[in-house]
């Protein structure tokens, strides 16, 4: 214990005590986190991006140039997660590094756990929430707005675009900003964050609503198709069934498009040849 105190005092004498992070630093990290994927590669993933986003915090908490170099070196190594959910890791790592600078016991193990295990979990959660559920949901809502408000053309298009951007970005920006704030406040306890635990529940709700809205959208599109004749409806349903089956069974959007279009052409040709 005494040794530790002496060691701390020595540090204080040799290097001035590091500053603690300021709100402005967190804002800078938040803004830099938007560019975290700029140097994404298959091998290193978000490595340099993570270091780039963390740099204002590293500059603030490091004791000297060597310490800053050491921190930056460690945080520019392999790292992979979802870009939006990385905010939690950024905040949490900053807190742990700050504690480490103030000589807390064994912080590097915690940092390693956060950067490998939690990042993996958050990556998977983020991919599901943002790409699998939220983006389709926002798109379907926007398309429904176009159809329902068609009397107000061109305003229906503007409203639908604003709607799309709002639905997606409210949650996107919330997780980016709250991730940094909460991660920095909670440190390792970020794992128990309610905003993370809420994601699976949110996914389920979004999927249910999306399914309902797909039903609504398909009826609105059928009405558009029916304007011509019943033949349009047959082609619409045939193409949609083909694409559904191929995507559901084979998970191949490209194949769904090609075969769906081919089926439509065959049906069209058959009707055309029979003199419809």
């Amino acid at each position: 214990m005494d040794n530790k105190v002496i060691h701390r005092n020595e540090n204080l004498i040799i290097n001035p005590p590091p500053d603690s992070l300021r709100t402005f630093d967190l804002v800078r990290i938040f803004l830099r986190s938007f560019f975290i994927q700029a140097t994404f590669t298959m091998k290193e993933k978000l490595s340099v991006g993570f270091g780039f986003a963390l740099l204002p915090g590293i500059k603030r908490i490091s004791r000297n140039h060597e310490h800053m170099q050491q921190l930056l070196k460690r945080h520019s190594e392999y790292y992979n997660s979802h870009p939006f959910m990385t905010s939690f890791i950024l905040g949490s790592v900053l807190r742990l590094e700050e504690n480490a600078t103030n000589n807390s016991p064994n912080p590097y193990k915690d940092i390693e756990i956060i950067k490998t295990h939690l990042a993996g979990v958050l990556g998977s959660l983020g991919d599901r929430l943002f790409w699998k559920f939220l983006k389709p949901f926002a798109s379907i809502v926007a398309l429904i707005m176009i159809f329902i408000l068609s009397e107000f053309y061109p305003w229906n298009i503007f409203i639908s675009i604003i709607c799309f951007l709002l639905v997606f970005n409210v949650l996107h920006l919330f997780y980016r900003l709250w991730g940094i704030i909460h991660g920095y406040r909670a440190g390792t306890a970020v794992i128990h964050s309610k905003s993370i635990q809420l994601i699976e529940h949110l996914n389920f709700r979004l999927a249910c609503f999306a399914l309902g809205f797909i039903g609504l959208l398909s009826i609105l599109e059928l009405r558009l198709v029916y304007k011509e004749d019943i033949f349009g409806i047959i082609i619409f349903i045939a193409a949609s069934a083909t694409a559904f089956l191929l995507n559901y069974k084979k998970n191949s959007p490209g194949l769904g498009i090609i075969v769906g279009l081919a089926v439509s052409f065959v049906i069209y040709s058959l009707f055309h040849l029979t003199g419809y």
């Binding site: 700029a38 340099v48 740099l55 800053m68 951007l165 398909s218 599109e221 349009g232």
Partner: protein
């Protein structure tokens, strides 16, 4: 010339927003195509092509290590070709829309290689960044990362303009028999694209136990139809 500048700016915006900067979803087909249509004075075509491409490419996930098709840039190529050639085109607007959508699908596959080439360039930038850290050159480290943004923006600009020009050149040289022999199919082809979009989105969320959600949606759609 103004048209090409617009395409270049939109190309940079779409390429950056897809993964590199922000991901605010401005690059999504529905938004980028509508915006392009608005800037060219034909918002309806932009919205139409954007809506179809949005549904068809919803399953693409720009996640982690996946090499995904670039449906966003593909859509921009499609709408650019339409807007650049609409004044010189002699056939129906349906045939033009159908053809540019097919072109957009093909270019989406080609632009998948754009993502790969970007990651190839990034390997060099990462090497520069790592060397900068070892030499304690913080500015060079940051510059290497920012270069990743700049190169993506420039590449997006260039390939958008190149593929818009190439598409226009190809479209205006298609044999007239292509348009005249299947004139009536193009309208139905567009309906087929809409159907493919709905089928694709439904397959993303479909679960046997949740069959009643789409049914409720269909019921709500019928009510909306009756009321209007």
């Amino acid at each position: 010339m103004e048209g090409y500048i617009t395409i270049a700016v939109l190309g940079a915006l779409v390429a950056l927003d897809t993964t590199v900067a922000g991901q605010f979803m401005v690059s999504q087909p529905l938004i980028s195509a509508t915006l392009a249509g608005y800037l060219f004075g034909d918002m309806e075509s932009g919205m139409y092509i954007g809506a179809i491409m949005q549904l068809m490419w919803l399953k693409l996930i720009p996640a982690g290590g996946s090499i995904f098709l670039n449906g966003n840039l593909g859509t921009l190529a499609a709408i650019s070709v339409l807007e650049l050639s609409v004044n010189e085109f002699k056939y129906s607007i349906e045939s033009l829309r159908f053809t540019v959508i097919v072109y957009g699908i093909v270019t989406s596959y080609i632009f998948g290689y754009f993502t790969m080439s970007q990651r190839f360039i990034n390997q060099f930038l990462i090497r520069i960044a790592h060397n900068a850290v070892y030499k304690n050159r913080i500015f060079r480290f940051q510059l290497a990362h920012i270069l990743g943004v700049i190169t993506t923006g420039i590449a997006g600009m260039l390939i958008s303009v190149i593929f818009a020009l190439a598409g226009k050149w190809l479209l205006l040289r298609l044999p007239p028999v292509y348009f005249t022999s299947s004139e009536s199919f193009f309208q139905y082809g567009l309906y087929a694209f809409l159907g493919i979009g709905i089928g694709t989105v439904l397959s993303m969320h479909w679960a046997r136990k949740a069959w009643y959600y789409p049914v409720i949606g269909v019921g709500a759609g019928c009510v909306v139809m009756l009321l209007s």
